[in-house]
Amino acid sequence: MSMSNKRKKIDNILQGITYLAASVAVVTLSLIFIFVFRNGAGLVNFGLITNDYHAKYYNGGIEEVVSFSQTSKPDFLGDDDFYSEKWGIALSDDLNREGKQIIVVSYVAKDSPLNNMYDRNNQDNQYFNIEEGNIVTSISFFDKNSALSMFGAKNMIDELDNSDMFREIIFSSLGGGIRGSLITTLYVIGLTLLFALPIGIFTAIYLNEFAKKNRVTNTIRSMIEMLTGVPSIIFGLMGLAVFVPLTVKYTPADSANLLSGSLTLAVILLPVIIRSTEESLKVVPDDFRFASLALGANSTQTTFKVVLPSSLPGILTATLLAIGRIIGESAALIFAIGTAVKDDVSIFGKSTTLAVNIWSLMTDEPANIELASTIAIIILMIVLILNVAVKLLSRNFIKRFE
């Protein structure tokens, strides 16, 4: 009796430990997610994905007003939008991505004189205009103090209404968007898979289906396995030492670029893809191979018509893992692709992926943890969508064959 009581106690303790471990794991992961979402959720909107990262600044001037605007305040503008009928512009107060007070243009009338400004930085630039969504920093006048954004939209509109002329209006586009990084990420995913998938899959097929099972093959295999354990920053150095000079020599690129970054990532991914493809080839039953060979098919036909299709779900999973790795990789890319956040993405130019963008934001002074968290949310979303897509695909695939 006492023996069984003791046994019971030990069982309970062991079970308790598993519960504890599981809950620690779940709580930790949840806390990370909660942290990221609390910091970043405020900035998630569609504009973030479509906007440029770098704001463009304009100094607009006006020569002589021929006619002021005749448009009265449109109905869709609310009480928070302050409208100047004379100048045909509505402004409203808002907060930017760093939480500072800003003034946003919410409407510009068609007949507004502000549609016909000249660029004070570039006199040739006529018909230069202000647009909805622009941020007005200040308006300076000839005969009185400037209207600054810190005094609010109402003050700015009042000052405008009281004047027939101003010296300069300084405004900018809304920056801080991640369109560039997002496009770079997509480019890098595409290019990397383009290099890594065919080479990886065909290598795996060679190793598993055609290569003689001898010491040479085994050595190659264990070397490939070893490569999966090499820290990616070392591959990054290799990218900097090999692919950057290569791409600089043979392409229009003149520094680290998308192509060198993708090639570096492809090298990082090769062992992963080879290994997981080989695993999925190994689980294809030999029965299929025998059946095919016994029907007079040669080994190439057997491999490409029977074995490869049967292992597609595994290869699909390998691809998903690879894409996840591409999205998440930052260390290697800092060297191989650069850290400059760019809005105009070109394959032969410097730019950053989302993950490196996070790194850039966090090394800025001050660190922009909100925007970094927002990017993290977007990365998480992409990974989630990929996961679901591959699950659905492979389930469909399995249903077809079982």
Partner: protein
């Protein structure tokens, strides 16, 4: 015309240091069902796989002696294995249809030989399935996955797949051991039917099955061919004492 499809002369087979077949001499008659019986590990499946060179796939396997198919040694260095396997089909112990549609399963072999015409493939699929007595059961769902068929249907599909190559010989390696009695009966009826057009060599563990469907029976024991004769003679008046002991169930 020679009535023997296969003539096997002094066949020795080694798996590494282990000798699996010892000096086997046997002639296989055309358009007959030849049953290979014997206890597990006696070499009968190994022998069967020698006939379409499936043993080539085993690295450590070494073969000496001659396997003459239509008076040509298939182990000759220059012999075309692919054409041998199109003429000598095989059905395996476990039904192993490909994870494709029923149609694609049957069309697989012909397609590998370069037949692309849709009408030609259609007619091959239909006649093969009819010969395998499966057509009526699957004609409305040829595009469905073969994995959805029952075990017995899958095995008949494998037979149809072999027939699609228009072979001369069909090798069967315990084709009914994974099937229930009703499916087994259907396969046996099918074998009796196929005998008219094909030479069938079947490995079986069931002596009743050998007695029911075969014309000739070969008894293997520890890699040696002990006795080979007409099936009724083997089961009524075996010449060797080992054969008698085996078929009366004293060992094995």
């Amino acid at each position: 015309m020679n009535v023997d499809v296969f003539e096997i002369k002094n066949l020795d087979l080694y798996y590494g240091p282990l000798q699996a077949l010892k000096d086997v001499n046997i002639n296989i008659e055309r358009n007959k069902v030849t049953a290979l019986i014997g206890p597990s590990g006696c070499g009968k499946s190994t022998f069967l796989r020698c006939l379409n060179r499936m043993n080539d796939l085993i690295d450590v396997c070494k073969i000496e002696g001659e396997v003459l198919y239509r008076e040509k040694n298939v182990y000759e260095r220059t012999y075309d294995v692919i054409s041998l396997r199109t003429k000598v089909g095989m059905v395996f112990q476990k039904p192993n249809p490909f994870p494709m549609s029923i149609y694609d399963n049957i069309a697989y072999g012909p397609r590998c030989q370069g037949i692309k015409s849709k009408t030609e493939l259609d007619s091959i699929v239909e006649t093969s399935l009819k010969k395998a007595a499966l057509w009526d059961e699957v004609k409305d769902r040829l595009k469905n996955s073969a994995m959805g068929l029952s075990g017995g249907q899958q095995q008949r599909l494998c037979i149809a797949r072999a027939i699609a190559m228009e072979p001369e010989v069909i090798l069967m390696d315990e084709p009914t051991s994974a099937l229930d009695p009703i499916a087994t009966l259907k396969i046996e009826q099918l074998i009796t039917e196929l005998k008219k057009n094909y030479t069938i060599i079947i490995v079986t563990h069931s002596m009743q099955q050998a007695a029911r469907i075969s014309d000739n029976t070969a008894f293997f024991l520890t890699g040696e061919l002990v006795e080979y004769d007409k099936t009724d003679l083997i089961f009524s008046t075996p010449k060797k004492i080992k054969t008698e002991e085996y078929i009366t169930g004293r060992f094995g």
